[in-house]
Each structure stands twice: as C-alpha cells, then as structure tokens.
Symmetry: C2
Subunit: 153 residues, 2 copies
C-alpha cells in the first residue's frame, strides 16, 4: 500500500516554494535541526552554539547586543546565557568601562568547546546545503549577508 | 556621550557574517519578526500564518505533513493548529480515504483571513529584503528553493 497522501490535491511543497519568506524559515529550521543533531555530542544546540560563537569571537559582549545581533528576544538570550553559564562555557563579568553594563565572556572551557562544535556545525551545514555547489553557496552567503547587515530595524 | 560598545573589540556582526548557517538563522528571525509585527492587525503570527498558508493552498493536509513541510516539531504543529481552530480559521476533518487520518482544512473565514494576511506578509518581506534588487531576490529564492526541496532528511 502506498503512503497516504493525506487527501492533498497537490504537494504541500508547492505552497512553500512560492514564498521566499516561508522558504527562508524552512531552510533555517532545517539547518537548525541538522546542527542540533550534530551538536548533541558536545551538549550544545543551534541557539546556544550561536551565542557561544559570538561570545568566543567578540571579546566581551552584552546581552542586548547578543539579542540584536541574533534577532532573539532579550528574555530568550538571558535563558540561553544562563544555560551556557551553568555548563561553565561563558561567564558574566562587569564591564570595566561602564559599571552599569555586564559582559558575557567565553571561558577557556568555552573556547575549547566552541572549536569542537564549530567543526561539527560546519559539517551539518554542508549537509543542509548539499544541493548547492561552492559558487552557489558563496552567492547564497553574499545575499544573506546583505539581508542581515542592511536591516533597517 | 556615544553609545557604549559593550567593551567589544570588534563588531559582533563580523562573527555572524562569516557563518552561512548563522546568517540563515538571523535572516529568518528578522523576516519572522517583521511578519509578526505586520500580522498583528489580523491576529496571526509568522508560524500560524505559515500553517494557514499551507492549509489554504493544499486542500486538506495532515499534521505530520505540516510538520515535515515546515520543519517544525509535531507538538508545535498541534499547538499552532489548536490556535487556528480556536480562531475559527481551520478545522480538523476525518480523511474520507483513510479513517485513521485527520486532515486540517481552511474554513471560509480562514481563506479570507489568509488573503488579508498574505498582502501584509508580502509587504513585510519586501522590507526584510529591501537591500536586494528584483534579480537578487529571484536568485535568493531559487537557491533557497533548492536547499528546501533537496533536503535528504
């Protein structure tokens, strides 16, 4: 017996692929799922990894900028940073140039974990983008870069 | 007094823009936020809108296929469909070709709401992609389409 098609008159993918916004969302969700699976062995998920990446690459960043950069809600950032603090991968320190400000910084353990996770996440992204060749990936990268860096919000 | 830079030694965006996966996530989050704001007047959010879109475009679809197509967890789909049922925009019906299966279908009210929301979501996407011209948007669309439709998972 063939798999039920759920009574559909057309493939649901046809609704998805007509809408650039929906495809962006589905592609990001697929990438996030692949990264989540890949990062199980290092006890990270796509979102905690993205924070660890920023914190490892930028020498101290406050939670508001993390939220702005990743387009997440400040309350989500606080919960995700709490998780990373609990794992000993990042720590919150007072900003010596502004006492009202606290910075999130990577610990040594966090930098080591980030390097391990980076390789796993890269392999997961390769799987997500398997249908694109190197030139097409570079084009996708360049277009997304313009969308991300030219936001007016 | 200039805005505090949070003690960063470089712009956090430089960490984001080096990573295609992270840019995909940030671009999708930015698009989702713009759509959420745009759809406030029609009491929808990006995710409920995406389900309404599929349900309106496909004449009956089961929750498993909604989850597969949108790359969301089945439990998320159930909660989002419940919200739409509560608003009277979709309904669950038995599948006449397979009694074990239930289909999610748009109501007349749902189809009208979808048309209203579609125009608002399109305008929000235009704002998200404002830095790309029409040819670049078409290229982004084509590349994302390949990523979405050629998934091996």
């Amino acid at each position: 017996m063939s798999e039920t098609t759920g009574g559909t008159v057309e493939d649901p993918a046809t609704a998805v692929v007509g809408d650039t916004g929906l495809m962006l969302s589905v592609a990001a969700a697929a990438a996030g799922r692949n990264v989540n699976v890949a990062l199980e062995t290092v006890a990270l998920r796509a979102r905690t990894f993205s924070i660890l990446e920023l914190v490892a690459c930028v020498d101290g960043i406050n939670q508001r900028r993390l939220a702005d950069t990743l387009q997440l809600n400040p309350s989500q950032i606080v919960a995700l940073v709490d998780d990373l603090v609990g794992e000993g991968l990042v720590e919150r320190r007072p900003d010596e140039t502004d006492r009202r400000n606290r910075l999130v910084c990577a610990t040594e353990k966090g930098r080591i974990r980030y390097a391990e996770a980076r390789a796993l996440a890269d392999a997961a992204l390769d799987r997500t983008l398997a249908s694109l060749d190197a030139a097409e990936r570079a084009t996708l990268h360049a277009l997304l870069r313009r969308v991300v860096t030219n936001r007016s919000d």
